[in-house]
Symmetry: C2
Subunit: 223 residues, 2 copies
Amino acid sequence: MGLTPDDVARLDDIVKRKCPLHRGEYLFQEGEPFRALYVVKSGSVKSYARNADGEVRVLGFHLPGELIGLDGIEHNTHACSAKVLETSAICEIPYAHLQTLSAAIPSLQQQMYRLLSKEINRDNEMLFLLTNKNADERLATFLINLSGRLRKRGLCATDFYLSMPRHDIASYLNLSAETVSRRFTHFQKAGLLDISGKHVQRLDIPALEGMLAVGMTVTINKG
Amino acid sequence: MGLTPDDVARLDDIVKRKCPLHRGEYLFQEGEPFRALYVVKSGSVKSYARNADGEVRVLGFHLPGELIGLDGIEHNTHACSAKVLETSAICEIPYAHLQTLSAAIPSLQQQMYRLLSKEINRDNEMLFLLTNKNADERLATFLINLSGRLRKRGLCATDFYLSMPRHDIASYLNLSAETVSRRFTHFQKAGLLDISGKHVQRLDIPALEGMLAVGMTVTINKG
DNA sequence: CGCGGAATTGATGTGCATCAACTCGGGTGG
DNA sequence: CCACCCGAGTTGATGCACATCAATTCCGCG
């Protein structure tokens, strides 16, 4: 990414390894002062926010290699909570140090801008998924996306463990837990996967992608 | 924001004023190489993206003082299009210059991080609005938000002109144009505003805010 | 082995999309 | 200056995808 080995070493110096966190423990909670960004080294994390009524919205699931906490920069306060879903190893990157370092290393600054922009684009895609796709398409997209991220990390893309409960998947996809359950069994009957509790096996990615294929709906729509 | 007068002058040096753009003209289009960010000086702009099927989603409306184009940083390509809704004055900030300058001026870098983070938080709020609120609440939120942004710029918060067609409001709020129309007339009958075409008058902000008041629904929901 | 939350499965309800018809308004040309 | 025209907006009727409510059943854990 344009960082020299020396740059990497300097970045590495400011990163703190936290001792392993267990299911239910927090990286941070909504409203706490923002001090650091976090990177998942192993395990998985969910982030979520709640509105004035106390309703919870799962905003994302974070796998190894992914960065958490960028939303805290705006107000120096965490805008969401991050809770580990299973025993996880986490690294902490103190934000003050990162700021200093990124001012000194142009390519690190550039990388930070890119990561922030990526988060914006991810959010826009999510918005699109939740507002323009039906339950089957949302669930299929979720599975394909998860599968792809696991593969990138060298893990099996077709057989994996869902560390989050149905309720969280439902919240993330803006569906009811019942609908998620129903669509999973529907996928199973259609031979798209074998699911048993939290275990997914024999995920048929091409078939799932086929579900998302450009509908024959030729919508002409001028901007 | 921590910028010295000298810093401001240096930032000002890199900003280019574009000659006024007219309704329907583009600041940039999806897929074009990313070269600059844009600030609205007067008028209004909409940004939108379209998916593989060609469906259009309005992502935002931009009023004077607001920054456009941050989504282009990730891939050096604009991820959405920006089109002016009425004759508008726009400033262009070449990104390469901004990068150099922000590396040299720590408070500018900090400001950039904040702006990017703000965009992430705005997206998350939007996600929440579109997935957890009904048509009336979405429209009320839209009006309150618009009103507040106009007030900030010294304009009238209760009487204003909607530069975007119903169809765009509908797309932005993930409703059909018919529903937007129906809810507007509903608001009118309820005495929340007078609307005639694109003209909004006598907007009753406290009443609209009342609609959004924490529902008596005491939802206890553990994260 | 038995408890309690998670997950599944079924029955019913509803908010908004969609389809369809009509009206309004403002821009243009005669 | 007015008549026409066409897209934008409104209004009404119908349908449906998913939420919600309500039972079970499953499964992890003490």
